[in-house]
C-alpha cells in the first residue's frame, strides 16, 4: 500500500507538515481558520524528530500485521481490509494507550485533550496526505513499497 516516507537528507525542519496535518484534520480545512477559530486545535497526527542538522517527520506505517490493532482493548483501532489504512475510532477509544505501548514506531500520538489515540489516517478524506502535498522540499513522498535514497 502507499505510505508516507521521509527523505531525511532534504527535510528542512520547517514543521509545515505539522501545520498542514492540523489543518487537514480541522473542521475548516483552512490553515488560518484551523488556528484562529477552532477552540481546540486538533492534535497533530505525525511525530517530528529533530536533532540538528537531522530532522524528519514520521507517520503511522499502517503495518500489515499492525500490533496496535491486535492490542487495542476496545476494538477502536481497525485496519481497513481493502485500503489497509489503520484508523482509530475515537468514539470507542478510551485512551488506555496500549497502542502507544505496542507501536514500534512510536507513531501513535496521545490526544490528551480528548483522551484518545491520534494517528495518521493518510488524510483519507482528502485523497493525498496533507503533509506530503505541502512539504516545501519534497522530503515527504507518498509511495508504494518503500523508497530508495
Amino acid at each position: 500500500m502507499k505510505k508516507v516516507y521521509v527523505k531525511e537528507e532534504v527535510c528542512v525542519g520547517c514543521r509545515l507538515c505539522e501545520v498542514y496535518c492540523i489543518t487537514s484534520h480541522s473542521k475548516y480545512k483552512d490553515v488560518l481558520k484551523a488556528y484562529k477559530l477552532e477552540p481546540q486545535r486538533p492534535t497533530p497526527r505525525i511525530v517530528i524528530e529533530e536533532n540538528r542538522p537531522v530532522s524528519f517527520s514520521l507517520q503511522c506505517r499502517h503495518c500489515d500485521d499492525a500490533p496496535c490493532v491486535k492490542s487495542c482493548i476496545t476494538g477502536a483501532m481497525r485496519k481497513d481490509p481493502l485500503t489497509g489504512v489503520v484508523t482509530c475510532d475515537t468514539d470507542k477509544c478510551v485512551g488506555c494507550w496500549t497502542c502507544v505501548l505496542v507501536c514500534e514506531f512510536g507513531a501513535i500520538i496521545r490526544d490528551v485533550n480528548n483522551k484518545v489515540a491520534s494517528k495518521c489516517d493518510l488524510c483519507a478524506e482528502a485523497g493525498e496526505p496533507a503533509c506530503v502535498k505541502n512539504c516545501p522540499n519534497e522530503a515527504l513522498v507518498y509511495s508504494e513499497g518503500g523508497i530508495s535514497v
Binding site: 537531522v54 491486535k70 496500549t98 514506531f105 518503500g146
Partner: protein, 421 residues
C-alpha cells in the same frame, strides 16, 4: 471441518479473524458460559466508573458472528473434553464434536482461603457480571476494601473512586502493582491514589471477613479492622484449566503450548490467559495474562488450525494502565534483583515522571515509564527485536528520544521499509 472454540473473548476473536482471512468454509462454533456479545474485559473498570456505557464495551461489531459465520453456544458451560473422541461435553449434557479445538477459557480469580467468603457483597472483578454486581452494590459514600493491589485491584479502585466510594486497598506485598513496578514507581503511583483519598495498606492481607448476611468489614492479619460495605477479592488470576482436567492435555500452571499454540494433544490448541506459552525474555514457558498476548496467540492458533504454519515469536509481559492523569507503561523485566542487569533511570518529582530501563548484555529487557509515556513502543520494539542498543544507550533517558538517536542506517531501514541486510 469444524473448529470449536471454548471461550468468547479476545483470543477467540484473534482466531476467528485469522481463520476467516483464508478459510470461509470451515464451521466455527464458539462455546461460552457467558451470554454477552464479545466484549472488552479490560473495560469493566471503565464501566464500573461510568466512563463507558455497556453499549461501548462491545469489542467487535454486532454482526461479528454472522459476518464470520460463527455458530454460538452461549450461556452453557463446557465441562469436559474427550480428546480421543474429539468431543466437548457441555453442562446440559450435549456434546459437540470437533476437528480442531481451541481452548480459550481465560483466567479465573484466585480466592484465598478466608473465613466469611460466602457473605453478600464479596466480589471478584474480572468479568462483566462481576462489574454489574459491584456497580449495583457500591453506593456513593459507601466503603470498599480491595484485597490485592495488583492490576485488577488498581483498576477496581479507580472505578469505585469514580463512583464516590471510599476505597481502601490491602496489599500483601510492600507496594501496589508489585509485579510491574519497583519501589520508586509504586510510590509515585500510590501518591496519586492517596491524593484522591484512596487508602493503601501494605504488608498485610485479610484474615477474616466480618459481617452477618452482608459484609461489614474485614479483619486484617496485622490485627487491624476495616469497615467495608463491599469487599473485592483482586489477588490475581490463574489459568482456568477446569475443562481440561482428566484429559491427557499437559498442564503446568496453564495449558502448555508450543509456538504454534498447539497443546500436547494433536488438533487441540490453547491461547490467551489459559495458555502457558513461551516468554522470550525469561526464555521459558509462562502464563502472560494480557490482552494483546491473547489476541496474538488466538490468531496464531487460528492460522495453524487451518493448516497455515505460523509461529509465535514469544511474548513478554507489557502493560499500559493509568489512574486518572497518572499513566504508566511497563514491559518486560522491570525490577530485577540480580547484578547482571544494568539499570538506567531518572525520576523527576516535579513532573511526577519516572523512567527506568533494564538492560542485559546490550539488549533492553524491560522498562517502566510513568507519565512520560509517549513513544513507549519504541522501547517495546527494541525488546521484541532484540536490538543491540549500544549505539544509543546513553540517550535513552532523553526527553526527545526517538529514531533520531539511532544510527542513520538502522533508522532508515526501519522508517523506509528498506530490506535489512
Amino acid at each position: 471441518m469444524r473448529i470449536v472454540i471454548i471461550g468468547n473473548s479476545v483470543a477467540m476473536v484473534g482466531a476467528v479473524e485469522a481463520i476467516r482471512k483464508y478459510d470461509t468454509s470451515s464451521e466455527i462454533v464458539v462455546i461460552s458460559d457467558e451470554t454477552y456479545h464479545v466484549y472488552s474485559r479490560p473495560l469493566i473498570s471503565y464501566y464500573l466508573g461510568n466512563l463507558v456505557s455497556e453499549e461501548k464495551m462491545i469489542y467487535r461489531e454486532k454482526d461479528f458472528y454472522r459476518k464470520n459465520k460463527v455458530e454460538t453456544v452461549f450461556g452453557i458451560k463446557a465441562i469436559s473434553i474427550d480428546e480421543r473422541k474429539k468431543e466437548v461435553h457441555l453442562e446440559n449434557g450435549d456434546s459437540i464434536s470437533f476437528d480442531k479445538l481451541l481452548i480459550a477459557t481465560g483466567g479465573k480469580p484466585i480466592i484465598p482461603p478466608v473465613e466469611g467468603l460466602n457473605k453478600k457483597n464479596v466480589h471478584t472483578f474480572i468479568k462483566m457480571d462481576d462489574a454489574k454486581k459491584l456497580k449495583e452494590a457500591a453506593k456513593p459514600g459507601s466503603k470498599a476494601v480491595i484485597v490485592g493491589g495488583g492490576l485488577i485491584g488498581f483498576k477496581a479502585a479507580e472505578g469505585l473512586h469514580h463512583l464516590g466510594v471510599d476505597v481502601t486497598i490491602v496489599e500483601l506485598a510492600d507496594r501496589i502493582l508489585s509485579t510491574i513496578l519497583d519501589a520508586e514507581g509504586a510510590s509515585l503511583v500510590s501518591q496519586s491514589l492517596q491524593n484522591d483519598g484512596i487508602k493503601i495498606i501494605t504488608g498485610t492481607t485479610v484474615d477474616k471477613i466480618i459481617g452477618d448476611e452482608y459484609v461489614k468489614g474485614v479483619l486484617l492479619k496485622n490485627g487491624k479492622e476495616l469497615e467495608a460495605d463491599n469487599l473485592i477479592i483482586a489477588i490475581g488470576v490463574v489459568p482456568n484449566v477446569d475443562v481440561v482436567r482428566n484429559t491427557s492435555i499437559s498442564i503446568n500452571r496453564g495449558i502448555l503450548v508450543d509456538n504454534t499454540m498447539k497443546t500436547s494433544v494433536e488438533d487441540v490448541y490453547a491461547a490467551g490467559d489459559v495458555a502457558e506459552g513461551y516468554d522470550m525474555l525469561v526464555e521459558s514457558n509462562r502464563v502472560v495474562p494480557i490482552w494483546p498476548n491473547a489476541y496474538m496467540q488466538g490468531e496464531i492458533a487460528g492460522y495453524n488450525m487451518i493448516g497455515i504454519n505460523k509461529s509465535f515469536k514469544g511474548i513478554f509481559p507489557m502493560n499500559s494502565i493509568g489512574y486518572k492523569n497518572t499513566n504508566m507503561i511497563t514491559a518486560g523485566i522491570t525490577n530485577p534483583q540480580q547484578e547482571e542487569f544494568e539499570i538506567i533511570s531518572k525520576i523527576d518529582h516535579n513532573r511526577r515522571s519516572y523512567k527506568k530501563f533494564v538492560v542485559k548484555e546490550n539488549r533492553l529487557v524491560g522498562f517502566i515509564l510513568i507519565n512520560d509515556i509517549d513513544r513507549a513502543g519504541l522501547f517495546t520494539g527494541f525488546i521484541k527485536n532484540e536490538m543491540d542498543i549500544t549505539p544509543f544507550k546513553k540517550y535513552l533517558l532523553n526527553d526527545d528520544f526517538g529514531f533520531i538517536y539511532l544510527p542513520k542506517e538502522s533508522r532508515k531501514a526501519k522508517m523506509l521499509d528498506l530490506e535489512v541486510v
